[in-house]
Amino acid sequence: MENTIIQTFDLCKIYNPDAVPVHALREVNISVAEGEFTSIVGPSGSGKTTLLNMIGGLDKPTSGRVAIDGKNITGMKDSELIDFRLEHIGFVFQHYNLIPVFTALENVAFIMLLQKRTKKEMDERAKSLLEAVGLGERMDARPAKLSGGQQQRVAVARALASQPRFILADEPTANLDGDSAMNLLDIMEKMNREQNITFIFSTHDQRVIDRARRVITMVDGGIYSDE
């Protein structure tokens, strides 16, 4: 496959290997190409979050490895991995995405501050991204003053701000009502279509699944189907 960004090799994850082992991932092999809009679905406990954590370098596999742009991230030291995440991976979580004491604008700018971008670039980019996700009017609001959907849109803007190779989103719509969820998907889709941003997201929501162009279904830690 051309322009493969993510590739996993016999990825296994066993929680509690000593006590009651839980096989969260069993030899998962997938690859994701640039520009994909991929959904990972499956019943609760099937290993979706675990897989996304492995791909995002938030946790280490028990065996197997993950390569991003051909680089083996599984062998990286913890501090290297943090820098790698900062520069190459965008994250949207189900909740606790934002810093409560910062405004929407500051939350988006913050990641660029970590990347040591210039003040001007931070400001301009954060503003244009917030406008792109439809929050041009709410830039100075703190997260508590924003709806759940608006908060997730700030999180998407934040993830995009770091100019990552791809964005991982673990159940980004789980806390949202139907309309907000669709609205968020619209924005993600637009980014994917217009800027060729690669998205990988997990979900339970059938309407969200319907929007994905590729659906990877997991069952009991393994890939059940991929279409």
């Binding site: 943090i82 995440r85 994250f91 606790y96 995405n97 990347q115 934040r158």
Partner: protein, 379 residues
């Protein structure tokens, strides 16, 4: 938490200031009221207290003192241990023969008068008694008492004195065993020539006490010049003890502060686990997380501390004028010779030292929470 830091520090600093004030006040009181910066005696007077142990060459010494620029004032005193007799009873007293004029310019004892006049009353053989001594003997102003003591040739002499005034110093014990007369009157009874057992010297600068006393000792033989620390071990003990107390109180405050910060930061950390995990997930390095927590505690503490110190400064500024009244303990305190109104003091340097200490404590006590923060897992 901010309020807790502010209030804790405020209370602590005011306490420290009050203690500081107490020590300072006691020291100044003792020095200005009686001890002065340095005293000259016959080398054996302080141990033997014999009437004959007077200062041998006092005119030379007095000359030297009046020409030395470091000396602000001095007062020669004629001292004698004797008996006070009244129709009621008899009591052992220390008779202090002072020079009306020079004593007034050297010490502030004349401010302790509660009734009657200082020794310049126009009467024959005036004597000043402590208020409580007079009460015990049923004496009033104008009453007559008899003082009996040994003169320089070893004979006992008695003379009648007239009560001219009553005084109350800070120490009831001192008031009970000390009477004041004019040194001329006492000298007439004691010896042919005027004799002085003690010369009290006030300097312009207390720091020069050491040097002046050394020079006196070297220049004049057969005398012993002592600085205030040597004369009054009580005073040096107070100063030392004050230092130790200050150290302990400061230590307790800082310890409380450290626990406060530690506790607050750990709680804050607990509440923000998810936020910090998120920050590490999106790529905030652990060093930055560490710095963030440390910085937060320092900012928090310094904000609280600034408030507390400002409050303390205002309180101390106001209290240093009005004084803290320990009236309810007045009796006990008076017995110890301490004034019951305390004027707290704290120098700018001491404020600065406290602030520095607070910041250091904030830094140190945030290290552990900060380390914990960097250990938060991302999955």
């Amino acid at each position: 938490m901010l309020a807790a830091i502010a209030i804790g520090l405020w209370a602590g600093v005011v306490t420290v200031g009050t203690m500081n004030g107490m020590v300072d006040q006691r020291m100044n009181y003792l020095i200005e009221n009686e001890i002065t910066h340095l005293q000259i005696h016959h080398p054996e007077y302080r141990t033997e207290r014999r009437p004959t142990d007077y200062i041998p060459n006092h005119p030379d010494i007095l000359n030297f003192l009046s020409s030395d620029e470091r000396v602000k004032a001095f007062a020669p005193r004629t001292l004698s241990d004797g008996m006070l007799q009244t129709p009621v009873k008899t009591a052992g007293v220390q008779i202090r023969g002072v020079d009306t004029e020079t004593e007034r310019t050297t010490t502030t004892f004349h401010e302790n008068m509660t009734e009657g006049d200082w020794l310049d009353a126009d009467m024959r053989n005036p004597v000043l008694l402590g208020e409580n001594l007079a009460r015990d003997h049923n004496m009033r102003i104008g009453n007559r008492i008899v003082l009996t003591f040994e003169d320089t040739s070893g004979d006992l002499t008695s003379a009648a004195f007239n009560v001219a005034g009553l005084f109350r110093s800070a120490s009831t014990d001192y008031d009970q065993r000390t009477v004041f007369v004019r040194n001329n009157d006492l000298n007439d009874l004691l010896s042919e020539e005027p004799v002085y057992h003690e010369i009290a010297v006030m300097l312009h600068d207390i720091e020069t006490a050491e040097a002046v006393s050394a020079e006196l000792n070297e220049r004049f033989g057969d005398i012993e010049a002592l600085t205030w620390t040597q004369i009054s071990p009580e005073l040096s003990t107070i100063v030392e003890l004050g230092g130790i107390m200050l150290f302990i109180v400061t230590g307790i405050i800082m310890l409380a502060l450290a626990f406060g910060i530690l506790n607050t930061m750990l709680m804050a950390l607990f509440e923000r686990m998810n936020e910090i995990a998120m920050l590490i997930s999106i790529g905030m390095s652990r060093i930055r997380v560490f710095m963030m927590i440390v910085l937060e505690s320092v900012i928090l503490t310094v904000t609280g501390a600034a408030g507390g110190l400002l409050l303390a400064w205002l309180s101390i500024a106001s209290l240093s004028e009005r004084g803290v009244n320990f009236e309810m303990f007045a009796e006990g305190i008076a017995e110890l010779g301490w004034d019951h109104i305390v004027y707290p003091v704290l120098s700018p340097n001491e404020y600065l030292a406290i602030l520095t200490l607070v910041i250091t404590i904030a830094l140190l006590s945030s290290v552990w929470p900060a380390i914990k923060a960097t250990r938060i897992r991302t999955s």
